[in-house]
Symmetry: C2
Subunit: 109 residues, 2 copies
Amino acid sequence: MMQQAEIHWSDNEKKVAEIALKKAYDQEVKALIEGVREKANLISLTEDVWQLHDFLSAKRHEIDGKYDDREPFLMYTLSRLVKDGLLALSDLAELEADKQAKISLLTRM
Amino acid sequence: MMQQAEIHWSDNEKKVAEIALKKAYDQEVKALIEGVREKANLISLTEDVWQLHDFLSAKRHEIDGKYDDREPFLMYTLSRLVKDGLLALSDLAELEADKQAKISLLTRM
C-alpha cells in the first residue's frame, strides 16, 4: 500500500469521502442481500449450503477490510471502490483535482 | 466421552447404525436447508446477513462433528442423535438389547 500520510483532507473532502463510502457500502450490501436470497432459494443439496457459507465467509472478510476510512488509507479505499464499480469518479468531483487524479491513477494499477 | 472400545458390533448392527445415521443426517440437512431459505428471505439488514453467516458457521461445525461413525464413538453418536430428536429408539430396535439400553441411558445423561 502506498504511503499517503502526507495528504491533507479538508473537512468538506472528508465529508465527500464519508458520503461516497456510505453510498458504495449501501450498494454493495443491497447486492449482497439479493445475492444471498437468490442463492438460498436455489439450495437443494448439503453442498449448496456449505457453498453459501463459504461465499458469506469470503464476502464478510472482504467487506470488513474494504471500507477503511482512516485518512492514510482513504485514497486507496476510494480508488478500490471505483475499480470495483461501486463508485464513479463523478462521486468524488468535490475532491481537489490532485486527489481525483491520484485516485484515477490508482484505479488503473 | 465414555470408553467403548470393548463393544462389538455385528455386521448387521453396523448396517443398522449406518442406516440410522444416514436417516438422521438427511433429516437434519433437510431442516437446515428449509431454515436457511426462510432466514434468507427475511434478510433486510446487513446484520441479518452476518447472523445467517454465524448460524451457518455454527451448524457446519456442529454437523461436522456429529456424525462420527467410528466404532468407539458409535454409541455416543447414536445417543446424541436420539437426544436431539433426529432418531427414535425404535430406529435402533435391531441392535442387541444391551446396546439399546446403554444408548437409552446415555440420552438421559
